[in-house]
Symmetry: C2
Subunit: 340 residues, 2 copies
């Protein structure tokens, strides 16, 4: 698999090799996507490019638009439509992040001050709406009604997932199934749609579209579960400067769901006090990590992610061997290996 171990390990060591083949194979197309993104955040209303570029230029991996480019390539697509669809996918993601920050009252995003801290909630809401509108405009320009159907459905499902999360917020008795329903909607739906529009714009048969959709959905679940584990320091369960946010915000994620269900009465009282009531004292986060270690909650969250990763890989097996297929398979390993 060629996973490159970085020479200098930081607080949160990441295997960086697994996604390099994907990055390299789509790099020419990705350059065009980036130009489109830049052009489409333009507006005479100066606050719009300011806010949009603050977030867009802050160094997300742009995994979702890369997946659209890659699945289009996997399906031998020869047109131009995948560029605007990929940009639209990234705009939908960025709009979601902007609105999420308002919903979560987050101060930080990707290690920078959240847009709402710099320009206010108003700008985050409205620039998110602008990007959502631009996303739909680009899809309309591509002119594929099936692609429009897939992405507009994803938009409603994502919003439903966010509301579901809101309704389940701070509920420590959330089941693993209920949690999965939330992340299927709020995270996996966009991964699935990003992957499905590749074969769809290439006019491939339904089975190919279903395979790519299934790859994306399961990759998305794995990606989110690994994010959940990373927020508690990943497999090592050691905290760095980018960890502990979920605990402090009272977010119920799979490591908590597993720890709560496997825990003693005293441990459940601890989760209720810290996450439901938000009464967090010094040392509580270390206690949380101790409970998670005791119940192997982080290892098992990563194990669950491996399960979805395996489903993602199998979904692609109907496609013949090609470098882009190899890259998509390696991307699954990359997403999971982040937690080691």
């Amino acid at each position: 698999m060629g996973v490159v171990i970085p020479l200098e390990e930081k607080t949160k060591p990441e295997a960086k090799g697994g996604v390099e083949r994907l990055v390299s194979l789509v790099s020419a197309d990705m350059e065009r996507v980036n130009q489109t993104i830049l052009a489409r955040t333009g507006s005479d209303v100066t606050m719009i490019p300011e806010v949009a570029n603050h977030l867009i230029s802050s160094g997300g991996k742009r995994l979702r638009p890369m997946l659209t480019l890659a699945t289009a390539a996997l399906c031998d697509y020869r047109g131009d439509g995948h560029i605007k669809l990929a940009a639209a996918v990234e705009f939908m993601h960025t709009a979601t992040l902007l609105h999420d920050d308002v919903v979560d009252e987050s101060d930080m995003r990707r290690g920078k001050l959240a847009a709402r801290m710099l320009w206010g909630n108003e700008a985050s809401v409205l620039v998110g709406d602008f990007l959502l509108g631009q996303a739909f405009k680009m899809m309309v320009e591509v002119g594929s009604l099936p692609a429009l159907d897939i992405l507009s459905t994803a938009a409603t499902v994502i919003a439903e997932g966010e509301v579901m999360q809101l309704a389940a917020a701070k509920d420590t008795s959330t089941t693993e199934d209920a949690y999965l329903a939330v992340i299927r909607a709020k995270t996996a739906a966009l991964f699935a749609a990003a992957c499905e529009v590749g074969p769809v714009v290439a006019n491939r048969p339904k089975a190919d579209a279903a395979a790519c959709r299934s790859y994306g959905a399961n990759l998305g679940i794995a990606f989110q579960l690994i994010d959940d584990a990373l927020d508690y320091g990943g497999q090592a369960a050691t905290l760095g400067k980018n960890t502990g946010d979920d605990f402090r915000e009272g977010k119920i994620t799979l490591p908590v769901v597993l720890s709560f269900r496997r825990g003693t009465d005293g441990e459940r009282d601890f989760w209720r006090r810290t996450l439901e009531k938000g009464e967090i004292a010094d040392g509580d986060i270390e206690t949380a990590l101790g409970i998670m270690r005791k119940h192997r909650a982080l290892e098992d969250t990563i194990e669950r992610a491996r399960h979805y990763g395996a489903m993602a890989r199998d979904a692609l097996e109907i496609f013949g061997q090609s470098p882009i297929k190899t890259a998509l398979l390696e991307t699954v390993d990359f997403c999971i290996s982040r937690a080691h």
Copy 2:
């Protein structure tokens, strides 16, 4: 014109006759739109229908979807697409209101507590996103790419208008032109799109679509200017329980723009203190009304609205006589007569 003066005049007398012909001619279609709206706010996530219906059932006039139905009828459209397009237009409008309340930190909306006061900013942001997603899904189901283009463009323009308004907020030196640019984007763009998709879904020639678009855009400007005047009590310049909000929120609307430009240095200091600095003392709103009366700011705001109303009427003149055309012309008068 048959404007019926209500027998019992309330605080804010409204001429109700002018829109009755429109309401009656589209009532059968509107019943189907209402059923679609109800069906499409449905979600297993219970908070979504709760929040959506709080606003949707709170008695807006549903003028925008009626305009889509009416322009489709004006163009002898025989299909079903106008129903979903009209519902999509209303969802776009409702999503804007939900997001506006968060942006403006409003406590009330249509005489009821704003959704954000009952369910929080989070729910207003996310249910707005859900409705926007549903709006696009319905448009995609209709399958008209030109209609999709018009409505997705409107979505970005509306968001741009809101951001523009944010940037110009509390700036008493705003020119009439700059103010018009804001309301063209934030209000008139949706009226224009709502009217344009009627002829477009009916496959009518460009000239018909342009006529309906122009009707809608100018009606929208007139509608907003009258709203601005009504917030200061309309032509009578007398305050009722639904007036004075713009002043208290520091909103710069045309009555203020005209008063500021025509005012003395002392009056300009008054506007700067109250609207820019937000230092509002007892009696200030009466002072504001006095200054507006002195400069005929409300009469002239209504006069400006009449100008756009006349443009709206002339835009429709290329269509032959029909009851629905008469209804659309009367709707212009209805919108303007609200201020008397």
